[in-house]
Amino acid sequence: MNETDVTREGLEHVRPRHASRGEQPMVPDAEFGSYYGQPIINQPVWRGPDIAGYFFLGGLGGAASVMAAGAHLSGRGELARALKIGGAVAGALSTVALIHDLGRRARFVNMLRTFKPTSPMSVGSWVLAAYAPAATVAAASDLTGIAPGIGTLATTGAAALGPILATYTAALVSNTAVPAWHDAYREMPFVFASSAVTSAAGLALVAAPLEECGPARFLGVLGAAAELGTERVMEERMGLAREAFYEDKASTYQRAARGLLGVGIVGSLAGRRSRLAGALSGAALLAGSAFTRFAIFEAGLASAADPKYTVVPQRQRLEARGGRSTSAVTNGHAPADAVPSEPPPT
């Protein structure tokens, strides 16, 4: 729509961002208006290692604590200990990552200044603030043998908070105007839940002895299969934003995730009698789960950077609603003289 002759490239009718990056679009670009190709929404300032890393760690810790309780109750001592340590470490690293990502780190305690259900980040801060100490006490008690009663209580507490810690982050990212995140809100919690189980099972396969790893192997295969399946469903239902999963980094991470999860599934099933094969499969599951989160994170960034992901679906939505939009009713896209052409009610 803009017809400025002089652009950054000195050319007419060029969308600067695409031209400068020399991208080949997957499909011919949809016709849409934009302001010199500038993004509509501002770019997230979250850093991948901190935030996508936290989504992974929160999932790992959350699911590990649930599994630790299962191992604890079913008398799998070494498995329980490995998972409790995993939960405690993940909880601690999560806290570090979140504080590290703040623009004002010294004010991290302001996260607990209020409680707002309208802010998944507020809810999550409280969950993590309760989870991390519980997971730490559970692990410390197991390692030292001190206060086993309190240890069991902490194990139970961490297991109760774990599922929320592992999944609320899906609401956190979906609750934004970023197309590839928001448009995935229906399926993302299930992708995150599956991915969390995959990673915790992977950790168990790496760290626990073979004879205690039966449940972990079962859950690893189930989790990875569910992760692959739900991620696919999520993409298929999200419309144009799906293309963002095939841009640059997101595409690479997603291929890595799929490959590693596939290897993890096959390895877990085939190598059930080998400690080494189990550990390698577990490592593949852990890495695959992490790549799933990084792929989703990067797809969001890509969808925020290109105005087409914001404009095209919104324009289609407006047109589908027909007369319901502001511009169509109150003011009329159509020339004033075209309005009477609508059949008057008889």
Binding site: M1, T7, G33, V45, R107, K116, A171, P215, T326, T330
Partner: protein, 291 residues
């Protein structure tokens, strides 16, 4: 603050009332009539001066006369410049025009600003309570509370709020909270030489905008439309709304913005379901093997 956190999304049309203010002044806002904007950027300058907004790069963009690019932490008013090969209503072709209809050019200029949404996503998602609703129905960041978590930034459907480099906190237009609290108009509106930026009680601005729109339609400017005027839109209407002469996306505005928290109840339900499925699956994993 409010007993039901989703209350403001469900019922109350007045954001100050929904936030718990009992005896509050009328909702104040901006009506930016872009049809009389001359692109002088006095609003950008006045805003920066009054609010001590730091310089954020002097660079050449090639985007017509716009080297400001967009709203952000250090740009609270942004004048867009759009050159189009079309005429504005009965506008005569330019002086250089010798070949009739195709040589007409119109220049659209518009001063963009924070919309101070009725349902403000930035405010909803802020985990610290740094973002607050004022008694005027506007949305303001408390700079002594914000810890720079960055959640408000991708939550805003308009791309308004952003993080300031070297500072770490989120910043945006305050609708000159300090000035309007003592009865003065915001710096941008005060500086605007053509009254393209009009400040006042929102109800009154709505009436004024409706009259202006009718006047323009009568004059043959069929493309004129109001943006952010409709309380029934995805953000419950804007406290700062616009008269535009082309589609919103041409100005860099989203054509159908929706407050992301509209879908949050559904998101929480899905998270709860996924959490239960997770716990159930793990339990199954252990029970199955325990037999």
């Amino acid at each position: 603050m409010a007993p039901n956190p989703f209350r403001s999304l469900l019922e109350e049309a007045d954001p100050a009332t929904a936030s718990g203010y009992v005896d509050h002044p009328p909702r104040m806002g901006f009506f930016t009539d872009t049809s009389v904007c001359i692109g002088c950027k006095a609003c950008e300058v006045a805003c920066k001066e009054w609010n001590h907004v730091p310089e954020d790069g002097l660079r050449y963009t090639g985007m017509s006369y716009d080297n400001t690019v967009g709203l952000g932490a250090d740009t609270w008013r942004h004048v867009v410049f759009i050159e189009q090969r079309t005429r504005l209503a009965h506008q005569l072709a330019g002086a250089a025009a010798g070949d009739g209809a195709t040589s007409g050019i119109r220049w659209l200029m518009a001063s963009d600003v924070c919309k101070h949404c009725t349902h403000a996503a930035c405010l909803d998602v802020c985990p610290t309570g740094a973002l607050l609703r004022t008694e005027f129905g506007t949305v303001v960041v408390q700079e002594d509370i914000c810890n720079g978590c960055g959640y408000c930034i991708p939550a805003c459907p308009y791309g308004v709020i952003d993080q300031r480099h070297g500072d770490g906190r989120a910043w945006k237009c305050t609708l000159c909270y300090d000035r309007i609290s003592v009865g003065a108009e915001p710096a941008c509106a005060k500086a605007c030489p053509t009254d393209s930026i009009q400040f006042g009680a929102l109800d009154e601005l709505h009436e004024r905008a409706d009259r202006r729109l009718a006047q323009l339609h009568e004059a043959g400017v069929a493309d004129a439309r109001l943006y952010g005027r409709d309380p029934g839109d995805g953000v419950g209407g804007d406290g700062a709304f616009f008269l535009l002469l082309d589609d919103p996306e041409v100005y860099g505005l989203p054509p159908d913005p929706v407050v992301t928290t509209r879908d949050l109840p559904a998101m929480w339900r899905r998270v709860a379901t996924a959490a239960v499925v997770l716990a159930g699956t793990v339990t199954l994993g252990f029970v199955r093997r325990a037999r």
